[in-house]
């Protein structure tokens, strides 16, 4: 097997596993840039995945065909945004501890989604499989380019490209627009923003709800491209991985994307190891822990000290000096 063939296996797989992480990590960036720590990404992904499953099944039934999963992603995004309101109300309006609120969000999402699944499917612990996944395709024309084609444009889903594209859009929004400037100011020095007439509470609500929106997309993408049905173990740690990617990427959209791709790569390596010569001889246990070991090594060794937004995690109390 040539290097080229190995890459043609690993890169598409990386892109596939990274996409949900990218979306979710971008959500985290919005929230924490506005000054609200969001441990609840995992829960937001669960809500997104659950909603996507139900919505796709419903839409398929209603005859939307191949458009079903795409519309479902949008519905899941809205569901995520609404669910994240809980975190916003508790931690911004009532100034409760943001970590505790985020953890609560995770428990609530896990319990609620499975409860609803059982309610809808007569006690069954999982949803049926959706019929219309977002499938792996070969991009017309581009996939025929020698070398690059097989690596980057075959056996991929459009959601992966979308995720990368959206990362740049988010970067633009956060660093190049007045909205982004205000969002960051609220996460760095809310009192200063307040004296300039920026509504700190409103900006933080928007930040948190965007994290719900993108977390919902992340969960939905995971469902419609990878698992195709929702059960207890559908979302098991991806949200935390996305959180790590956000930190690893230094609260920067492009950084978060890069980190997500790296985590995706680590997972792809373990998933595809059976197909890759030499590596396939290693015991499977090694390949299963490899992503995490690799992550730890990179986190400790190669990334400098990451500095969060200055007011990240600190409730803003007007008139306190």
């Amino acid at each position: 097997m040539s290097i080229l063939e190995v890459l043609a296996i690993i890169v598409p797989s990386t892109l596939l596993t990274a996409a949900p992480l990218i979306f979710t990590a971008l959500g985290g960036v919005f929230s924490e840039r506005s000054g609200v720590v969001n441990i609840g990404l995992e829960g937001l992904m669960s809500v997104g995945a659950f909603t996507a499953a139900i919505a796709t099944l419903f839409l398929e039934h209603a005859g939307f065909g191949n458009a079903s999963p795409w519309i479902a992603i949008l519905i899941a995004a809205v569901a995520g945004a609404i669910f994240s309101l809980i975190h916003a109300v508790v931690s911004i309006t009532f100034r409760a501890d943001q970590t505790v609120s985020g953890v609560a969000l995770n428990f609530l999402a896990a319990g609620l989604t499975i409860f609803l699944v059982k309610l809808i499917y007569n006690g069954n612990g999982q949803t049926p499989y959706i019929a219309h996944n977002i499938n792996k395709i070969s991009v017309p024309v581009l996939s025929n380019i020698p070398i690059i084609g097989p690596i980057f444009f075959q056996q991929v889903t459009y959601t992966s490209y979308l995720a990368i594209f959206v990362s740049f859009v988010v970067w633009y929004i956060i660093f190049k627009t007045s909205f982004g400037l205000r969002l960051r100011s609220v996460g760095e020095h809310p009192a200063a923003a307040d004296t300039l007439g920026i509504n700190v509470t409103r900006m933080r609500y928007i930040g948190v709800m965007l994290s719900g929106f993108f977390g919902g997309i992340g969960g939905a993408v995971y469902l419609v491209t990878i698992t195709a049905n929702y059960n207890v173990s559908t979302i098991a740690g991806q949200g935390f991985l996305a959180l790590a990617a956000m930190v690893f990427g230094k609260w920067h959209p492009i950084g978060a994307m890069g980190a997500s791709l790296f985590f995706g790569f680590a997972q792809a390596l373990s998933i595809t190891s059976q197909q890759i010569p030499y590596i396939d001889r290693l015991p499977s246990v090694v390949m299963m822990v490899a992503p995490y070991v690799l992550t730890l090594i990179v986190l400790t060794g190669f990334v400098g000290r990451a500095e969060p937004p200055k007011a990240d995690g600190i409730p803003y109390i007007k008139g306190q000096r």
Binding site: S178, L181, R182, R184, S185, A193, L196, G197, Q320
Partner: protein
């Protein structure tokens, strides 16, 4: 003609303290009105009420004769009220231009137009003579420039009533002169200004009228033409104040601080201190005079172990402490009053008591076997609060809620009370009222008389001239001259600080 601002019967209470008690304030159109009063008198509180940051418990506000309700700074901005805060309201990670335009950004279809922003800032800065570098990050600029950024923020918003809360506390004499010129120009353009300051000189140079506040109450409003500095000072403090002068004999003892060929880089990796040599003896106050940005900050931080020494050595009492941990250096005999009280001097969310034992909490009698003895800490704190006249409901109060000057007193109390072999005091009286300055000066002189070494860094040439036994002039990271305060004056010092040689300066 109606007043630009009229505040009637304003009352504002905080837990345990009435910060404003039935305050009446009238500011005429086009005047510079001074607010003068002791630390903790309630000046900032009153201005925060006017700016919409605090809601008064009682009272009414009229702007240009119309009764208004100012619920938040947005309302204040809309009414043309701008405020330069005592503690900067700047986003350190943002550039100067970003800080100024924040909230009112020039955009093209939602995209930030930074080219335009930079141009707006440069134009404003040129128009009012406020020198700033629009592209630099705020965390990399001097305190003086940060202040100018704050002023530009209000000018950019086109405010016609400007509140300056102690703008000059962090400025150098030259910058103060410039600021006063700017204020006069602004008033000519039809703006009205409220200026809070503790410096009489500025009031008499810049202001038309002055309102004196003491312990939350109005003492009176007086035209500047009808009074004189010493009467005004007495009116504020409620007793006679006198200027402390170092007239104890100069009898230097053994070396306490020795600095050899010291080189320190600033945050941009440029040599801020360059091959500097300096010796300070017991029983002397060594003043460091220099224009802001000539390496004073970095020198002091290097001594305190807060900034890495690139080359050279620092010895305290003969022990090499170069690049040692701050605690080690403190144990070697350092006391340190930092320039930036909120960043390096205090833990704002700790109580006053806890702040008072920050270097000693782990030792007897404050702790035993790792457990704090709160009774002893409280007792110590109470004693220092009393001795240094910190205005607060008690030692359990958070440092954050203290007025600016009282935060400073807490630091000075902590450092001086330990009576260290070497006391490094950077701008020790910044933001203090006249009475408190008199007191702190007395304390520094006492330390000297006890045979301790004092290194005093200050932009106040008066302070340097009155207290020092020797004055080291720092320029571009080097000590270019050491002069005897009795044989020099402000003019000569000013020229030396600008980098002139002594012969030139005297000519």
């Amino acid at each position: 003609m109606p007043y630009a601002i009229e505040m009637k019967h304003i009352r504002k209470e905080f837990p345990g303290i009435i910060a404003n008690d039935d305050i009446n304030l009238q500011v005429e159109e086009g005047e510079i009105h001074a607010l003068f009063g002791e630390n903790g008198a309630g000046k900032s509180t009153l201005m925060n009420v006017l700016f919409g940051l605090y809601q008064p418990d009682e009272g009414e506000i009229y702007v240009h004769g119309k009764k208004v309700r100012i619920a938040d700074p947005n309302d204040a901005n809309r009414l043309g009220i701008g405020m330069v805060h005592q503690h900067f309201m700047l986003v350190e990670k943002f550039t100067v231009a970003e800080n100024i335009i924040l909230g009112r950004e020039p955009t093209i279809h939602g995209r930030l137009d930074m080219t335009k922003a930079v141009k707006i800032v440069s134009d404003l800065s040129e128009k009012y003579g406020l020198d700033v570098d629009p592209m630099k990050k705020v965390e990399d600029i001097t305190v003086g420039m940060q202040q100018r950024v704050e002023i530009l923020k209000t000018l950019y918003r086109g405010s016609d009533i400007l509140i300056f809360d102690e703008p000059t506390a962090v400025l150098t004499p030259l910058e103060i002169k410039e600021l006063i010129d700017i204020m006069k120009r602004l008033v000519k353009e039809g703006k009205s200004i409220i200026l809070i300051t503790h410096k009489l000189k500025e009031i008499f140079e810049a202001c038309d009228r002055c309102t004196v506040i003491r312990r939350g109450k109005i003492i009176g409003t007086i035209g500047i033409g009808e009074t004189n500095p010493s009467d005004l000072a007495d009116m504020m403090v409620g007793r006679k104040v006198n200027v402390r002068i170092n007239n104890a004999p100069y009898e230097p003892k053994e070396k306490v601080l020795e600095i050899r060929d010291l080189t320190v880089l600033d945050s941009r990796k440029v040599k801020a201190v360059n091959q500097l040599n300096l010796t300070v003896h017991g029983g002397e106050i060594m003043g460091i005079a220099g224009v802001d940005g000539n390496g004073q900050t970095e020198l002091v931080e290097a001594i305190a172990g807060l900034r890495k020494v690139k080359e050279g050595a620092i010895e305290i009492n003969g022990n090499d402490v170069t690049n040692h941990k701050t605690r080690k250096i403190i144990e070697a005999g350092l006391g340190y009053i930092p320039e930036d009280r909120q960043k390096h001097g205090l833990v704002l969310d700790f109580s006053i008591g806890e702040n008072m034992v920050l270097q000693t909490y782990y030792k007897k009698p404050y702790a035993f076997a790792g457990v704090l003895n709160n009774k002893v800490i409280s007792k110590k704190a109470k004693q220092l609060i009393h001795e240094y006249d910190v205005r607060t409901p008690g030692e359990k109060t958070l440092a954050r809620s203290l007025s600016g000057g009282n935060q400073q007193k807490v630091i000075v109390a902590r450092e001086v009370d330990r009576s260290p072999q070497l006391l490094v005091a950077a701008q020790p009286t910044r933001g203090l009222d006249i009475g408190a300055i008199e007191f702190i000066h007395g304390k520094l002189l006492e330390e000297k008389e006890k045979g301790k070494a004092v290194l005093l860094v200050s932009f106040e040439l008066d302070e340097i001239l009155h207290l020092s036994d020797r004055i080291a002039v720092i320029f571009e990271g080097r000590i270019i001259d050491i002069v005897n305060p009795k044989e020099t004056n402000e003019n000569e010092l000013g020229l030396l600080m600008a980098g002139r040689k002594k012969e030139e300066a005297q000519a």
